[in-house]
Structure formats: structure tokens, C-alpha cells
Assembly symmetry: C2
Homo-oligomer: 595 residues x 2
Amino acid sequence: MTAQEKATGWLSEFDATLQRGDTAGAAKLFIQDCYWRDLLSFTWNLKTAEGQDQIRNMLDSTLANVKPINWKVDGEVTEADGIIEAWFTFETAIARGKGLLRLKEGKAWTLLTTMVELKGHEEAKGETRPKGVEHGPHKGRKTWLENREEEARTLGYTKQPHVVIIGGGQAGIILGARLRKLGVPAIIIEKNARAGDSWRNRYKSLCLHDPVWYDHLPYMPFPEDWPVFAPKDKVGDWLEMYTKVMELNYWNSTTCKKAQYNEARGEWEVTVEREGREVTLKPKELVVALGVSGYPNVPKVEGADSFLGDQFHSSKFPGAENYRGKKAVVLGSNNSAHDICAALWEEGVDTTMIQRSSTHIAPSASLMELALGGLYSEQAVRNGIDCHKADLIFASVPYKIMHTFHIPVYEEMKKRDADLYSRLEKAGFLLDFGADGSGLFMKYLRRGSGYYIDVGASELVANGSVHLKSGVNIAKIKPKSVVLTDGTELEADIIVYATGYGSMNRWLGDLISPDVANKLGKVWGLGSDTPKDPGPWEGELRNMWKPTQVPHLWIQGGNLHQNRHYSQFMALQLKARYEGIPTPVYEPAQVHHLS
Amino acid sequence: MTAQEKATGWLSEFDATLQRGDTAGAAKLFIQDCYWRDLLSFTWNLKTAEGQDQIRNMLDSTLANVKPINWKVDGEVTEADGIIEAWFTFETAIARGKGLLRLKEGKAWTLLTTMVELKGHEEAKGETRPKGVEHGPHKGRKTWLENREEEARTLGYTKQPHVVIIGGGQAGIILGARLRKLGVPAIIIEKNARAGDSWRNRYKSLCLHDPVWYDHLPYMPFPEDWPVFAPKDKVGDWLEMYTKVMELNYWNSTTCKKAQYNEARGEWEVTVEREGREVTLKPKELVVALGVSGYPNVPKVEGADSFLGDQFHSSKFPGAENYRGKKAVVLGSNNSAHDICAALWEEGVDTTMIQRSSTHIAPSASLMELALGGLYSEQAVRNGIDCHKADLIFASVPYKIMHTFHIPVYEEMKKRDADLYSRLEKAGFLLDFGADGSGLFMKYLRRGSGYYIDVGASELVANGSVHLKSGVNIAKIKPKSVVLTDGTELEADIIVYATGYGSMNRWLGDLISPDVANKLGKVWGLGSDTPKDPGPWEGELRNMWKPTQVPHLWIQGGNLHQNRHYSQFMALQLKARYEGIPTPVYEPAQVHHLS
């Protein structure tokens, strides 16, 4: 039997067992150590069923409603290292789906099912794109511009949006675009003056650390000459243009003051200040799209008030030009800390990095080649893997075993970059590769911190151009210096706190209430029982892109890849609720941690 | 022999004859009635050699320099109705090329050769895209934003652009983007406040008459949900966004006062007014990108000054809302006249169209299906014909025989839309299908006027909702009425002159000098010896996208399709001159008409 035949055979057997409601039989088509990751199509949730029992339970709860049919292999089936990989399409009672199946010895090892579109609510594109103008005579016809202007005038005032998105950075903009395509009325609230400012306002040397192939927005890919690592201002301009072209209702220079859910009316009351006036928006659904973190973390250090120089959180660091010939202390050793140290050094500032705990360093070239190359690279594009296909492949790897895919990458990186690592260690730098050696992306998923994608600053640390003090913290600040916990005193004209961000909870506590924030619980992380990601195991990222314990409150965020991919599912969840389509959520995640 | 083998065989025989310099032999590989259209690769000109003698002459003059090699069939070869069609690639001493060959009975019927890129000066994209940030430490590094700001500050002041483009509508913007990708410093001069205003400022009901598949800009296709017929303001916003994303040096709110060529210095002196200050730009090359017409044509009519109502050229028509319940007279019967009559009728204005001479009406749906469908449609995209491929296919049809491809389309249209045509004639409308029945696109190429793409107004004319007076002109204007040449007097509160535009020559005469304008001669048209396109036969559009009789003066323009396609060749011509690559022009076109 060819791989194609095996995949087709498995799918039709699976189909048959599902058709006759044989959930036990369906589960037995999987190997022992198996995973079925479903993105909405069965569960109206993001859910990974791990093992046959969980798969059976999931089917027992969902199958009767979902009524899946038409499982069909879609495209070429491949086989490598004993694993058969097959793309397929399927339908449910209400939606069309796409998935990826991996077979091992004739049984399913991993299964991914994703919802693509709701029947009768497809995005208008290609053949079904809008005509733009209604041909023929129409008295009282409104032009596109008049309609846009009317929407801008009325939405949020005399008409209420179905969704309010707080935060008009990449997360809010991307989700906003998806909702617009699906015809769900939405307003995006952004405190900055222009779309893209959340990138523009960062330190001036910032470029994306992820390469272009990983960063495309939905609907409008970057042009072919887009830089591999786009400079922040160019990204800002792109987001601004995208917001306009996608016709988003984007309320810039608007601050969100308060939000509360009115149970009786079944709607949120979101108070914002726009153009000096208070406006109360009354959406059915509220999306928080502020990244996955809360306020900047600025440690309270004794004597900080007495400091005569400048001190900033990294998010407010204005650039190094004003500090030429001066002395800087940067607290922290992750991405921002390294970028800022390099920017300071490049402007001739005498710079010391304070490393409090070990950090994972992933040289950009190695990361691109070893970790991302297969899915997100020019090579991948040539192999027919565009970012949408790559996202699905990425999504098909269950979180539970994802680290096993990553460990070999970082084993290889250790060899390739042995010289850099050894020189960093000689310079006193505390290195790690994650609790289990699974490196950068797992650290990102588990805790959202603890690493630097090396684009050059590690060399400065290794060769002493940027001074390093490691295993210490700042104990005290004096008017013209910083005293470390080991007693060292460093002269300083500027202190930068590259100390990350707090949890979402405090932010939500202030916006809504501490009770609601606590009901929602911790955002981000997998429950991997590694540092900063306490167990129990969650199976999916906490509270991201899926129903939370607070009805009608949603979190959108992540890097560009995640926002691109998961916004599809956020938008479908919101669209279904907008259209009144039942969305029974299978096993909403429980809250185990507050922050 | 398969079609593939025949095409491969022909190409290798062609290659062999060229290799041994046998120009007579090469010409004999063509049938008697043959055409070789070359876009730069052999001629540094846009040139159609018609017949074996012209082909041999062309080769005699160019072959030794061009040194073509590596002729290779590229992709599938097709055969239909006895014609074999084959895509191919080739190289010259300095460039890479792509072409399309049509064989008839084993010999070449039509051959298209086009220059794709200059060796060593390829656009940076895909694998060779810019990195965006130089990794590693670099003292004094400049950011993308700093570089952009510096360029904005210096180009045109302390540094001179190689090219100045007068006109920042679609033509200037598209060419500007091509030049940017090729690294040719250029400034675009635009009198309006914002990119896209040349669309925004038109009458409010205007939508593109060409469908989306025909209208893509290079590098950034419209998204899949872009309307078939985009409303003007949406197009304006897209152009503005595109200008920004493409990083063009776009001088908005800037007026061009004067231009003259300084022979001694070998550069233009272009005086513009920007932000209230006069600036003199000194480019080596000057591109006029103002469409292909000059000033609006407003006929001088006796008594016009005494008119108490409003009168506008169609380009200034503000929209119909202010004229509800009033009476309008629209002079003209082409696209703008029809659109404006429909807009007036839709607002309840009592409207009369004055048709001076016969007009070609092409119903939009029929035009889309019969004329454009094969190349520019969703169907074409599904068949693997994107707009770039479509443009080449389009370009491969020699102008000399193009009408023979079009006549059957309009024969079919006459049948399909017989009812509309007959009702229009009953209403008194003077119909034509072009001098030889070849319809809209040939009229466009020959004279740029004389037609309406019917998106609904013809129905209003046919059923009398819009009143029609045909075969007459306005003889006299009185304070509250218009008197026609047949003596009819029409009450009027508003007169719209939808009377088109004058020739480029007067405009160029004012900007540079009448002598230079006359040296350049007529712009547009083929010399088809049909109305408004006097002979002799030119073989290519006069003065468009190619060297003119005025060295260093170029014309860019046309519809979106033409701008997209021919900007490639304009940009390559300018790039070669910027890099000092020799560009011997084969047979520059002679001037036979001034305007």
C-alpha cells in the first residue's frame, strides 16, 4: 500500500467509526501515545486530547452535535522516518475544516483538526469578492466613502459594535482585519496617536527578531523585497497602512478607562476617552489585545529617587545618542537588555549589563537555519510551504511533545556555536538552554522570557566591550552610582531597567476588577512545571485565543506568527457568537494560578 | 513531434542561426506575415519588426551587440487551432529576457522578446532581499528611519536625483516604485496634497471601469477581497499607502513651474515650488507622468460667461447632491459624460446628455467576459494566468493585427447586447464600434476616447430617464439656458463639459518650450489612419515608455495595466542610463504629427 492509500484508508475508517457513533472504535484508531489537537471544529475550544481516553471523552461529548463528514485527503501524502503525513479536509454540520494527520504503523499518532470557515458565513474573496459598485441606476446611491464616513460617525455612538478590542498593536489590528472580513462590527481602542506607534515608540535600534517569513499579516503578505528583519518604524508604517487598507474602525488617541459586564443587559460597558470626551461602548464581547503582559516591571530599588542621571524602563528607552561618553547600567539580560546594551555601545557609551540569572542565547543565524528554516524561510516558500501551511504544520505538533522536537535543534546549536558559548561563559555569562534543553521557543511558550536572539550583542559581552556583572542584582542606587548585591559600585549616568513586564492580571484588575482578573486567572504558559510556568499541565496556552472563565472576555496576543494563526480562530469564535450560532465549549480550561 | 519538441527545435535552430550571425537565415525561420515585438532586449526600444525584411534589418543592426544566448523553452508548450505557443527565456550580453513564441506550420508567426533584468543589477527580493539590520556591533550605525529621514532631507537639495517624475498619480507612483527597487534615485512631483488625490478629487460616484485583475500594481497585489470595480477613494487610499510602503520620495503639494535641458551640463533644470519655496532639481532624466493628455478641454462657447448657474469641466465636477430638483446639461457622451449623467439622475437632477458624435458602448459584463476574461479574471487566475503572465500574453499580440483579435469579440457583443443597442438607437443614440468594428481597446489605443464602458447609464439613456440630444453641439449659452446647434433651447442650472483633454503638447510647450514639444511630437496613438489617429503606421504607441526625439525626456502613462507592464521597461531604460550601460536605440520613432 502506498502512503496515499494508507492515509486515505485511515481517514475512511475513521469516518466510518464516527458515522456510526463508535467513539471507542475511533479512539482505537490512534496509537497509545497519541494526540488530537482540535482548533474549534469539534470543541469550540483550543484543545489537545492526549491519549485514547481523552480522545474518546472528547468524541463522546461532541460527536452528536458536530456531525463530521467528508474526510478527504487533500494533496500529496508524504512518508519519512516511518511517519506518514497527510493533509485533509472535512466538514461538520456547520463548518468546513482542514487538518493534518500523522500515522505511525498504520494508526494515528497526531491529528490536527481546524475550523476554516462557517458555512454560509465565508469570507468574500476571489469569485465572491464584492463588486465595489452596483452597476445600473440606483437613486440615492451611497458611495464607498460615504458609507465609510457614516460608519465612522455612527459606530460606537448610535450603533454599538459587537466587539471592542482594547489595544491597537499588531494583535488588535490583525484580529480587527479578520473580523472586518467576516462582517463582525468591531472597534479597536488604541492610546497612541497612530497605528504602528507601539513599534515606533520602542528604542530606535529595534528590528524584528523573527524573520519576514514568520511575520506576514493575514490577507496581505509583505512584498518580496521586505527585509528579513524589518526595522521597527517600517513595521509601524506597514501596520498603519494595513489598518487603513483593511478599513478598520480604529480609535487612535483613545484611552480605555473602565470596563464592566452588565449581566442584566448582557453586554459590556467600556468607558473610553476619545477626543477629550468620554464615550461608553456597549459591545457583547471584549477582547484584550495588549500583548500577553501587563505593566512594565520596574523594580523598587532603595535610593532610586536620589539618582541624578536618567532612568527608564526598557519600553521607554529613548535611544543612546544623548549619552555619548557617559556610563550606563542595564539591568537584565534578555532581548531588550542585549539590544539596548549594543545600541549604547555603538554610540560610545560605557555600558555594564547586570545579569541576575541565567539566560538562553540563540544566535539568529542558527535559529533561522536550525529551528525555523523548514517552515519559515525562502527555502520553505520554494518548497510550497507558505506561512499559512507552515502555521498549520506548526500547530499540528502537540504542546506535550513539542520540546522533544526542539531539544535536538539546540543540541546542534550548542555544537555550531560552541565558540561563542564558551567565550560567553569565560566572560562570566550565565547560560542556559531551558529547563530541559528545549531552547528558545519552549521558553517563550512556557514563560515568555529568559532568552536573547543574538543579533550581535553577545559578541560585545563575550569580548568585554559591554561589561558584565552576573549573578548579582542592584542593591542600592546612589545619586551617581549603582551598588550591586556583591558590593560592587558602578558609576552611572543612566540606568535602564530591561526587566520585562508584569502579569496581565493587575492590568485587568485595574480595568475591570480584581475579582474578574482572578476569575480569569493566569495568562500564557503551558503548566510545564518549569521555572515561571507552574503545573498542572494545561495542554494549551492559558487563556489565549479561546473561551476563558470570564464569559465574553477574550485575550488576543503573541508574536506575529501566533497572531496571524490564532486570530483565525478568535475571529470564528466571535463571528459564531455574533451570528447566534451555538458554540458549546468542550471542557473550558480551569484556573490554577492567578498570575 | 510534440508541440514541446517543435518549439524546442525552433528555438535551437533560431539560436544557431543567431550564433553564426546568419540574420537572413534567422528571418527565414519566420512565416511571410510575421511579427517580432521586442521590448528593450534587442533594440533598447519598444519595437515591432513586421515581416522578414524588418526582422533581418533589426538583427543586422543589433545582433553583434546583443549577443543573445541560452534560448530555452520555459514551462509547458500548448497547441490550439494549429498555433503552437511557447514561453521561453534567453540571455543577452547584459540582460536576462523572457519571451513568447507562436509557431504556425513550423515557422514563427509572432515572437515577443522582453528584457526582465540587467545582469548585476537585479532587484533584491526573495533570497537576495535586504537583511533589514546588519547583525553584529557597528559603531555609529544608522537606523532605517534615520536613513529615510536623511534621504528626505537631502535628495533634491544637496544631492540630485537621477530622475524627476512630474505627476504623482498612478503612473508616477508605479514608475517610482520600480525605480526604487532598482536603486535609481528619483523624486516624484505632485501638485495635490496627498498621494491618491488625483482619484479622490474626481466626481464622487467614480469607480474603476476596469476590473481588479487588470488593475494590480507591481510588487503588491490587491488582497483577495478587493472589489471588482474599486471606488475611487479606496483606490486613492491604496495609492497613498503604496507610496509610503514603497518608500518613494514623493513631493506632494509641489508645483512644477518650468523645465529646461542644460546641454552643457547634461542635465535638466526643473523648477518646482515646494512649501512656498522655489527649488531647482537637476536630474539627468525627466519623466512626464500626467496621463497621456494635457489640459482639460473646455470648449469656448458664445455666452458662457453670462451663464448664471454652475459650469465645470468633468474633471472638476463636484458631485450631484447640490443640484437636486435642478436641470443639468452634460456635453459629451464618453465615460465621464455617462457616469456624470447617471450620478445626476440618481440625485434627482433633470439631466440632458448632448451627444456630438457617435460613441462606442461596451457593456461592462460583456467586456469582462468576452474581452478580458481569458487574461484578467478569477478564471484566468485559476488557470495560472496572473496579471504578469497576462501582461506578456497581451504584449505578444502585435499592434498591426491586434484589431483582428478584437473584431470577433465585438461581433459577439453586438449579438449578446442587441436589445440594449437597439433601444439606444431608438432613443436616438449614435452608436459605433470603431472604424473597423474592433471596439473599445483599439479605440483606446488609437485615440484614447470615443467610448463608454456601460455600468448602467446606457439604460438611463435608452429608457429616457436621461434625456438625449444627439448629432448636435452647444451653439450658445444664455444666463439660464443652453441653445443647441439645431435651435433647441434647454433650461439649465448646471453645465458639465465632459469634453476630454487636450494633447500633451500644449502642456509640454508651457512647461518646457513649444520647440521641445514640437520636437517630441504627438503622444499616443498608433498611426492607424482611423479618426483622430492619422497615419503613417507607427507600429508602437507614439512616444510612450520609450526614447523620444527629445533626449532624456520620457512619457509614462496609460491605464493601470499599461503602467504596471510598461513601467518595467521604463525603469530598465532609466536604470541602464543611471549605471552608464550603453543603450543603443534601434530606429527611434520619427515624428509625423505634432498633436
